[in-house]
Symmetry: C2
Subunit: 204 residues, 2 copies
C-alpha cells in the first residue's frame, strides 16, 4: 500500500462506489454520481483514478477486504467446531438481512450480472472476490465434512458455491420484492439441507 | 391483442431486447442497439414504443409468455406424478445449461438486479414474472407434498422460491466463470435436497 492509497478522498470514493453501484448498477453510475456520493471533486477523482472502470475495480478490491474483515471478526469465527462455524455463518447472514436491501446485497454479484460480457476485467475481479469468499467457507465445510460426514460423496467446495448461489439468488428476490422475507425462507431451507449433509437431525 | 401487437418489427424488437439486455444490462442498452439487433429502423421503434423503458416492459411480458410456453411444452410437463414433473423440471433446467451463458440466463433476474431501485415499473414487472413462474412450480410441489410428505412443515411456495433462488444465483456464477460447471453442481445439491424433502432416498 502506497501513501496515495491511504488518502481520505480515495477511501471515501471506494466506500461511496459500493453504495452507488449497488443502488443504480454499473452503467448508470456516472463519475459525477460517485463524486457527489463521496463528497469529493472531480479533480480529486481523476487524481486517484483514470476512469470509472479503474475506480470500480479498486472498489471491488476494497469491498473484498472489507467483507473479509466483517466475516473474520464475526462472533462465530472463533467457535472451536467447524460445523458450529458454518452454521454460525448462516446465522450471521440471516442477521445481515435485518439491514435494508441495498445494504445487505452484494457489490460483486450485482456488478458481474450486468458487466460480465462487456467488462472482462470487472467480471474477473468479481469472480476472484466471490471465489475467495467461497474458499474461506470451504475450509470450514471441509473440516466439518471430515468430522461429521467422512464418507460423503460431495465436495466441500461444491457446497460452498451452493451456499453462495442461494445467497446471491436470494438477493435478487429481495430486490424484486423489496424485502428479505424470501431470503429468510431460503436460508431456512439451506440450513436444513446442510444439517442433513453434516449429520444433524433437522429440528424445528 | 390488437393488430399492431402482431407486427413483425414489434416481434423482432421484443426478441432482440431479451438478447441485448441479457448481454449488456439495461442501462448500457440503447435504442440504437435494440434497432440494430432487431434489424428495424428507429422510426419503426418509436412507432411501436414511446421509450426504451416501455419497450423493455413489453419484452419482459413477451419473455414471460415465451418461457411459460417452453416449460409447458417440455416433455416432463405431461408426467402423471407431480414429483416426476418436479424432478423433470430440474432435469430440463440442467439440459438448458448446455446452451451458451447468455442463452440460459434470465432476462428478469438480470433486469431486477440492476434496476430495482431506479425503475420501479421494471422491478414490478420482473417480480410479477418471476413470481408467476414460482406459482406454476408451486402447484406441482404442493401436489407432490400431499402425496409424499403430507406432514411436512415446509410450504410448497417456499420450496418454489428456493429452487428459483438457486437457479438465479447459479446464473451469476455462470456469468462470473463463463461456464455452467457450478450451476450443474448446484442443481445436483438442489436435487438431493428435494429428494430428501419428498421422501426419496438419495442415490448417487
Amino acid at each position: 500500500m502506497n501513501l496515495q492509497s491511504l488518502s481520505p478522498s480515495r477511501q471515501k470514493l471506494l466506500e461511496a462506489a459500493a453504495d452507488v453501484v449497488r443502488a443504480k448498477g454499473y452503467a448508470a453510475t456516472t463519475v459525477d454520481d460517485l463524486c457527489a456520493a463521496a463528497g469529493v471533486t472531480k479533480g480529486s477523482f481523476f487524481h486517484h483514478f483514470k476512469s470509472k472502470e479503474e475506480m470500480v475495480l479498486a472498489a471491488v478490491a476494497h469491498w473484498g477486504s472489507w467483507t473479509d474483515g466483517i466475516f473474520a471478526d464475526a462472533p462465530y469465527a472463533t467457535a472451536a467446531d467447524p460445523r458450529d462455524r458454518l452454521f454460525g455463518y448462516l446465522d450471521f447472514r440471516r442477521e445481515l438481512l435485518g439491514h435494508s436491501v441495498p445494504q445487505f446485497t452484494c457489490l460483486m454479484g450485482t456488478l458481474v450480472q450486468e458487466t460480465y460480457a462487456t467488462h472482462p476485467e470487472v467480471r474477473q475481479a468479481c469472480d476472484r472476490g466471490m471465489s475467495s469468499h467461497v474458499a474461506t467457507l470451504t475450509r470450514d465445510i471441509e473440516a466439518a465434512r471430515r468430522l461429521y460426514a467422512p464418507d460423503a460423496d460431495w465436495s466441500a467446495e461444491s457446497v460452498g458455491y451452493f451456499i453462495q448461489a442461494v445467497l446471491q439468488g436470494s438477493f435478487i428476490f429481495a430486490k424484486a420484492k423489496q424485502n428479505a422475507e424470501i431470503a429468510r425462507g431460503n436460508l431456512a431451507h439451506l440450513r436444513r439441507y446442510l444439517e442433513g449433509l453434516l449429520g444433524m437431525e433437522p429440528v424445528r
